[in-house]
């Protein structure tokens, strides 16, 4: 098992490197000069050139590429142009927020999606199945930023205006008075802030997962071994949740890997809508400010998270399906 994981990680290096290279060249070959941000028209050409030298922009692109790779190998992602801090520090600060948001969302999405998919498969052709399919398709087709805005509109703005018993904050990760709260209240405050962003992100994913689980369950439920399980006298609960689901989950697990890029794209919008200080918002802001080191570092982190996620999916796959061997 360990060798399997190590081999997969080694195999992912060219992938990450390739993505890093693409990002590097897209960013560096794009028209526009980041030095413009740090200089004014009144500056002398010499001063301007000095800024370029300081930012390392005076070198030809292939030298910059090699330098960047060399620094990368030592875990150095450079210093942010706009924030004057090492990129690794900024990422260390913001990555946990993004992970909290995306893990919560993907967890909720899988639990919700799988349960709904099972229910639909077991009650195929029922009214519940049709309604869930249609509603699911709507959520599946929804831009996550719009869903997020609608959630804010309903559960934050209208909820407080109309005096609903509970409403949720429309932005940020914690309350202003967070530092003064008791540990229990802190947890509650974080959860309270997490609810809307995570739900907006999760619902879109859950709709896709439910569709997939339903199809997979329907495929497995007509297999011979399900009939055997029934012939053995097992209760319908055991037949469905143990014998059928265990098999139906195998293809669903591949979705973990497939959905990760999609999930991180989603965090970009959700973090923007909810002013959630995370990687997605960081990278979008950096792109708008032409902060090259952050763009490249942040993209690299996204790529690595996708690689790790795919690895987790592969390991899960091997755990659930005894027919897969690690070697």
């Amino acid at each position: 098992m360990t060798t399997f994981i190590v081999r997969r990680l080694l195999g992912a290096i060219p992938l990450v490197l390739g993505i890093a290279t693409i990002i590097f060249f897209v960013v560096n070959l794009a028209p526009g000069d980041p030095a413009d941000r740090f200089s004014s028209p009144s500056m002398s050409p010499e001063a301007r050139e000095q800024i370029r030298v300081n930012l390392g922009l005076d070198q030809p692109i292939h030298i910059r590429y090699v330098r960047w790779l060399g620094a990368l190998a030592q875990g150095d992602l450079g210093v942010s142009f706009s924030r004057n801090r090492p990129v690794t520090d900024i990422i260390q600060e913001l990555l946990p927020n993004t992970l909290l948001l995306s893990f919560t969302a993907i967890g909720v999405a899988f639990v919700l999606g799988i349960l709904l998919g099972i229910l639909q498969a077991v009650r195929q052709y029922s009214l519940l199945d049709s309604i869930a399919s249609i509603v699911g398709l709507f959520f599946y087709s929804m831009p996550s930023f719009w869903l997020a805005l609608m959630m804010v509109l309903l559960f934050s703005l209208f909820a407080s205006v109309w005096g609903w018993p509970i409403y949720f904050p429309a932005s940020d990760i914690q309350s202003i008075d967070y530092a003064f709260l008791s540990p229990f209240e802190k947890v509650r405050d974080r959860l309270w802030h997490l609810t809307l962003p995570a739900t907006s992100l999760a619902l879109v994913l859950a709709a896709g997962i439910a569709r997939y689980t339903r199809a997979s369950m329907l495929e497995e439920i007509r297999q011979d071994f399900v009939r055997t399980a029934r012939a053995k006298g097992l209760s319908e609960r055991v037949v469905i949740f143990k014998h059928t689901l265990r098999n139906a989950l195998i293809p669903v697990i591949t979705l973990v890997g497939l959905y990760l890029p999609f999930l991180f794209s989603g965090t970009v919008f959700i973090e923007t809508v909810f002013a959630w200080p995370g990687m997605g918002k960081l990278v979008v802001d950096a792109i708008l400010q032409r902060d090259y080191p952050i763009i490249m570092g942040g993209s690299l982190v996204f790529a690595m998270m996708v690689v790790v996620g795919n690895l987790v999916a592969d390991v899960l796959y091997a755990v659930v399906d005894p027919r897969i061997r690690y070697d």
Binding site: R227, A231, L234, S235, R246, N247, I250, D321, P322
Partner: protein, 340 residues
């Protein structure tokens, strides 16, 4: 009193093309410790009959129609509560299937799948169930049962898996074992072994066996009595010897004639012409008439009932040729195994 008594069983399926009458009025009995064979081509309804006994027909699209009756040990299976039905399944009536490769769950060890029944029906602890499971594997002739207990289905051969299925089926000492084409998917050399094992286990445990097959050779080897099915109906019943030596229904005769014998290389096989009609619209009258070389107008006009042969109720065939009036009127007597 028979152990299993099926009366007028009708199992229909709703399909896009219409209602498929897969099993259309089947009545049969299995006595305690007896072996009854059901034989027929694919699509004749024999598997659906077997599945109906344990109410394993997927619904929808399948439905066991009102008026059908399946009595087991004087209990009406079609009316028992689901909980009671689950008590019977795998415990008093067990079933093994055609495809051992797909009939076991690929993600659980075979041991787990044996343990599951033992713990469910006999209330054994995990450890007791393991001991009993290993013993069962040994009993059905699996070498190194202790290691094989922890193997996954994909690590075993088809023959071995069918032995595992038999072990699962026997684990609670059922009174009736339903075997649906248990040897069809196996290699010829393995077929005989599995069949021998089934017969041995049946003698040893004194259970009744309902054996479904399309292979008259299997019937000859194992069964006490035979039911021949065609078009969702029984077309002939009798003891194995009677069916094999003096078949009365043209279909049974055709089945026997299409059987290759060993050594007679020069004799051409005589397949039954045509194919089984669709269960969505069985022909009016006799359902076999389109393929029958004896058929005449009456066969199209009305459907024959199961008519007694030699005046005994245990021996019957669904053919107008057996109508005493007809025999007198036509003066023809049909000799077995003589297709025209």
């Amino acid at each position: 009193m028979p152990l299993l008594e099926v009366t007028d069983l009708r199992t229909y399926f709703t399909t896009d093309a219409g209602v498929a009458r897969a099993v259309d009025g089947v009545s049969l009995q299995v006595g305690v410790g007896e072996t009854l064979g059901i034989v027929g081509e694919s699509g004749c309804g024999k598997t659906v009959t077997a599945l109906s006994v344990l109410r394993l027909i997927p619904s929808p699209p399948g439905e066991i129609m009102a008026g059908s009756s399946i009595r087991f040990n004087d209990e009406e299976l079609l009316e028992v509560e689901p909980a009671r039905l689950r008590e019977i399944r795998g415990n008093e009536i067990s079933m093994i299937f055609q495809e051992p490769m797909t009939s076991l769950n690929p993600v659980f060890t075979v041991g787990y799948q044996i343990q599951e029944v033992l713990r469910l029906h006999r209330g054994l602890s995990k450890r007791e169930a393991r001991a009993a499971g290993v013993a069962l594997l040994a009993e059905v002739g699996i070498p190194e049962p202790d290691q094989r207990f922890d193997a996954y289905p994909h690590q075993m051969s088809g023959g071995m898996l069918q032995r595992v299925m038999i072990a699962i089926a026997l684990s609670c000492e059922p009174r009736l074992l339903i075997a649906d084409e248990p040897t069809t998917a196996l290699d010829v050399t393995i077929q005989a072994q599995i069949l021998d094992l089934l017969v041995e286990m049946q003698r040893k445990h004194g259970m009744a066996l309902l054996l479904i097959t399309h292979d008259l050779g299997v019937i000859a080897e194992v069964c006490d009595r035979v039911v021949v099915m065609y078009g969702g109906q029984i077309v002939e019943t009798g003891t194995t010897e009677e069916i094999l030596t003096r078949p009365q229904h043209p279909y049974t005769q055709g089945l026997l004639a299409s059987l290759p014998g060993i050594g007679d290389r020069d004799v051409r096989l005589n397949p039954i012409p045509g194919t089984v009609p669709s269960a969505v619209d069985w022909p009016d009258g006799c359902r076999f008439r389109d393929r029958c070389s004896f058929a005449w107008e009456r066969c199209a006009e009305s459907a024959p009932d199961l008519l007694p042969v030699d005046g005994r109720s245990s021996r019957s065939a669904r053919c107008w040729l057996l109508d005493p009036d007809e025999a007198a009127g036509r003066g023809a007597h049909v000799t077995p195994g003589e297709p025209t």
